[in-house]
Symmetry: C2
Subunit: 208 residues, 2 copies
DNA sequence: AAGATTAACTTAACGCTGTTAAATTAACGT
DNA sequence: ACGTTAATTTAACAGCGTTAAGTTAATCTT
C-alpha cells in the first residue's frame, strides 16, 4: 500500500524488524524450514521487499547470525563479575551451554551450518569488545587463569587452550542438539555430560 | 530405454549404484548441493527412477548414512589389534578424527545435519557388532580401560565416559569442519588442537 | 502364436523455493 | 499541476523434490 520517502532511521528499523521476525520464527521452526515469503508475510510485506534490504537469503542469515552472536556475548557478560579466574572460566562454559541448549536452532545456525563468511570489518559485532565478542570473553578468561599460573606447565599457547575448551563444550552441546533423539546411542543425562566435560577439561588443563 | 524383468540381485545392485554415486558426489560438492536430478544423470537414469528404490530424498540420505557409518567403523577396525587399552582408546580417537577430516561432507551428514531418524531395526548397520558399529567400538575400548582400573575412582558410568570422549573429539572435528574458514578466530593448527584434546581427555579421565 | 498383463522406465507436470523484471503507487521538487 | 523518483507489489523464471500419466518391451495365458 505504500508511498515514497523514508528516513534512514525508518529504513534501519525495517531492517531490524525483518531480522527480529526471522529470528523469532527460527526459534520454533528451525532455520531451514523458514521461507522468505513466510518472514515477509509475518511483517505484512511482500517477499520481494526483503531484497531491498538484503542482497539474498544468505546475507540475511549472516546479519541474523551477527545478532545471535551479540545475544550470546550479552548473555555471558555477568560472568566477568565472578571473583576466581577458574570459577569464571567454568561459569563461561556453563553459560555457553545454557545458550546453546535454550536456543538450539540459533546455535545450529551459528556453529553447525555451512555459511559463506563475511569479513569482520562489516560485521555489526565489534571484535575484541568483551560486551559483544563471546570468543574474546573466553580468551580473557583463559588469559586470567594463565596469568594466575593455574595451567599446567607444558601449556603455553593460550589460543590453543581456549579453542580446546571451546571444542569440549561445543562437542557436548552440538551432539545433544543433533543426536539426542538418536535411539542408537544410550544417551546419559545431558547435565551429567556437561558436568563431566567441564571437570575433565579442568583436571586435564589445570595443575594438580 | 528399458524393458521389464529384473532379478532381485539386479534391483539391489541398482540401489547400491545410486547410493555409491550419490556418496561420490557428496565428497566433492557437499550433500546440500547435490540434487536428485544430478545423481540420476550420473548413472544414466531419469530422476524419477530413484523414487522406485527410495521413498524420498530423506530415505536415500538415511541409507547413504548407513554406508557412511559402516565405512567409519571399518576404518577403525584395525585399532582393536593394538595392545594397551589406553593406547587403543587413543588410537580410536585419532582414527575417528582422521575419518572426519578426510570426509568432512560425509561427517557433516552423519553428525551435524538434522535428519529424521529411523529405528535401528531396519538399518543395514548391525548394532553392537564391532565390525560395523563405531560407537560400540568406543564402548568396548572404554570398557577395557575401565576393567584395567585406569579411570579415576569417581568415574563409574562407562556410557558417560564414552560419550564425553566422543564429544571432545567431535567438538574439535566439527568446529574444524564448519568454522576453520572463519577469520574471526585465530585458529591454531588442527593437529595441535586434536592432540591437546586427546591428552586433556586422558589427563582428565585417567588416574594420575 | 497372438493378445493381455505387468515391470521398468521416461516425459509432463505440480507446488514450492529463492530471486529478478516489470508494473504500480504516492509523496516530493519545481 | 506535473513530472520525478523511492517504496512496494504483482508477475514471472528457473530450479528443486516429487507425483501422475504415459511408454516400452519382456513375460504369461490360452
Amino acid at each position: 500500500m505504500p508511498p515514497k520517502p523514508k528516513t534512514e532511521l525508518e529504513r534501519q528499523q525495517l531492517r531490524t524488524l525483518i531480522i527480529d521476525t526471522a529470528r523469532e520464527l527460527f526459534v520454533s521452526h528451525g532455520v531451514e524450514a523458514v521461507t522468505m515469503r513466510e518472514i515477509a508475510k509475518r511483517i505484512g510485506y511482500s517477499a520481494t521487499s526483503i531484497y531491498l534490504h538484503f542482497a539474498d537469503r544468505e546475507a540475511l542469515l549472516r546479519d541474523i547470525c551477527d545478532i545471535d552472536f551479540l545475544a550470546l556475548a550479552s548473555s555471558l557478560k555477568d560472568v566477568s563479575k565472578i571473583a576466581g579466574p577458574v570459577e569464571r572460566l567454568q561459569a563461561l562454559g556453563r553459560g555457553y551451554a545454557e545458550f546453546a541448549l535454550n536456543y538450539p536452532n540459533h546455535y545450529r545456525l551459528m556453529f553447525m551450518t555451512k555459511r559463506t563468511m563475511c569479513d569482520p570489518q562489516q560485521s555489526s559485532v565489534q571484535q575484541n569488545n568483551a560486551e559483544q565478542d563471546a570468543y574474546y570473553q573466553l580468551k580473557i578468561a583463559v588469559n586470567d587463569v594463565y596469568a594466575a599460573g593455574y595451567f599446567r606447565g607444558d601449556l603455553t599457547d593460550k589460543a590453543l587452550i581456549a579453542q580446546t575448551i571451546w571444542a569440549g563444550m561445543h562437542g557436548v552441546c552440538s551432539l545433544q542438539i543433533n543426536m539426542a533423539n538418536d535411539v542408537w546411542i544410550d544417551w546419559v543425562d545431558i547435565n551429567a555430560r556437561l558436568q563431566l566435560m567441564q571437570t575433565t577439561m579442568m583436571r586435564g588443563l589445570l595443575k594438580d
